[in-house]
Amino acid sequence: MNRRRFFQLTGAAGAALMASPDRMTSVLGAPSSTRDLVRFPEKTEMILLTDRPPQLETPIHYFRQDLTPNEAFFVRWHLEGIPTSVDLRTFRLNVSGHVRQPLQLSVDELRSQFEPISIVAVNQCSGNSRSFFEPRVPGGQWKDGAVGNAKWTGVPVKSILDRAQVKAGAVDVSFNGLDAPPLPSVADFVKALSIDHARDGEVMIAYAMNDQALPMVNGFPLRLVVPGWYGTYWVKALSEITVLPNVFSNFWTDKAYRIPNAPNGTESPKDLAKDTVPINRFNVRSIFVRPDPDETLHPGMPNEMEGIAFDAGYGIRRVEVSTDGGSTWADARLDSEIGKYSWRRWRASWTPRNRGQYRLMARATNAIGETQSKEQWNRSGFMWNVIQQVDVKVG
C-alpha cells in the first residue's frame, strides 16, 4: 500500500466516524468521568492512557492490598520501540566504562552468583496525579494510580560494581534498557545516579517482583530499583550499566525530568523558575483507598476509612484525617511498618451523624517533619502531594 492509498483509507474511515454520532462521542467527545480499561499481555484490566508506547494506570482498589499485584502494576514507557521479546539464552547485562573488569552477565548468572536481597518499595511515576494540577499541564494525564508497592528481589548494584572493580575517579553510573527511539533524532532513554548512590547497597537490579518474573511491560527480565526515588530512575529491561569518570549528560537528565529548585518543586505559572534540578526523591503523600468517592454512606453507621501513605524512606509517623473539609483533624491508626520504602496503611473509624455531603481529607507527616501541601504547581506536573479531598454523600 502506498502512502496516498493509506491516507485515502484513513480519511474514509474518519468520514465514517463523522457520520456516526455515537462513535464520535467515544473518540473525540467531551472529557468523560470514566476512562477506558484495557488488557495488555500479562496484565489485568488497566486504565488506558496511551497504547503506543503504553501508559497504563492501576485502578485504585488494588491499593487495598499491601503489595500491588504484578498484573495490576502501572506501566509507563517513553519510546515507541519497547522490547516485546527477550531470549534469556542471549540476553546479557553489560557492565562497562570506568571499570577494570567489564562484565557480561546472564540472568541465570545474576541469580546464581550473587547474594540476593529483597526490598519492599513504592515505585511512583514523577507525574502521578498530574491531571489534578491547575492550570492543567500537558503530559500523561494520570489520576492517583501511577504508583505501586512491590517486593523486589535481585542483586545490589554495589555487588556488581564491586565485581567489575570500579576505577578511582568514578563520578556517575548510567543505566540503559532495551527500549529504542523511533527516530535517530530522539534521545535514547538513559538515566544516571551518582556513584555513591548507585553503591549504597539498596539500589538494586531486580529479577523478581513479588516473587515472580517481571511482566514484559514492567521491565522483564531486569529492572533497576531505586528505593525512595521517582520511577523515572527505575530503568526497565535494563541491559547496560556504564561507570563514568564524569557527570552524565543527556536529554532525559538535562532537559527532561527537572523540577524547580524550590521547596516541594513548586513554582508559579506566571513566574517559571529559572533554577531547576533533576527530580529525585519522593515527597510525602497519602491516598484514600476507602471509601469510594461514589459510595453512599449512611447516618449512624460506622465506617472504616482507609488509605496508604509513603515518603522517600524516612518513615511515615503520623496521618491525620478530617471529615469536615479540614476544620478539625484526628489521628488515623497506622498499620505496622512493612519496610521503610514501603507504603504504610492507615485506618480511621468514622460514624457520620447526619445526612449530607462530607469532605474527607488525609494528611501524612514523615519522620523528618515533612507534610503535605495545600497547593502546588509546576510546569511539568511532577511530585503532586496536595492533601487529597474525597467528597462523599451520607444519605
Binding site: 483509507l9 474518519g14 473518540v27 488488557r39 539464552r89 503530559g139 529504542a180
Partner: protein
C-alpha cells in the same frame, strides 16, 4: 540500543495505525463504582517454559476526523506515538498545542516544516482545543 531506520519505523507506525483501525475488543469502560473483578488468576498469561519470552502488543488508536491538517498530523505524529497522546489530554489553548508541536519538531526531531507545524497545531486545536486565556502553560519535557 541504536535507533532503527526511519523507513522501517514509518512502516511499523503505519501498520500499527492500520491495526488500530480495527477497534479491538479488549477495551471496556472503567466501572463508575470502582470495585471490580476478583478473578485475577484467569487473567494471567501462562509463562512459557521457553527461554524466549515474547508478547504481542495490542494497539487501540482512536481514528481522527478529517479536516485541514489531518493528513499532516497523521504523517508526522503517529510514526512515534499513538493518537491517544492527543485524546488523553484536556482541551488546550493554541499556545499550549503550538508549544507541544514545536517540541516534537525541535526537540524530538519530527520531520515537519514550520508550515506543517502551524497546520498540525490548527488541527489539534480543532479536535481538542479551547480559547487562549493568555496564561496557558507551555509544555516541558519528560511529562
Amino acid at each position: 540500543m541504536t535507533p532503527r531506520i526511519k523507513s522501517v519505523v514509518l512502516l511499523v507506525g503505519i501498520a500499527a495505525l492500520m491495526a488500530g483501525c480495527r477497534r479491538s475488543s479488549n477495551i471496556s469502560k472503567e466501572p463508575e463504582h470502582g470495585i471490580a473483578n476478583g478473578k485475577m488468576d484467569s487473567m494471567l498469561d501462562a509463562k512459557p517454559d521457553s527461554p524466549v519470552h515474547t508478547i504481542v502488543m495490542p494497539h487501540d488508536e482512536p481514528l481522527f476526523p478529517p479536516g485541514p491538517g489531518h493528513d499532516e498530523f497523521v504523517a508526522a505524529c503517529v510514526v512515534c506515538h499513538s493518537t491517544r497522546y492527543i485524546t488523553m489530554q484536556p482541551r488546550f489553548s493554541r499556545t499550549t498545542w503550538l508549544s507541544e508541536v514545536n517540541k516534537m519538531k525541535n526537540v524530538y526531531g519530527a520531520h515537519i516544516s514550520d508550515e506543517q507545524v502551524v497546520k498540525i497545531t490548527d488541527y489539534l486545536l480543532s479536535v481538542n482545543g479551547k480559547p487562549d486565556s493568555g496564561q496557558a502553560p507551555k509544555g516541558t519535557y519528560g511529562e
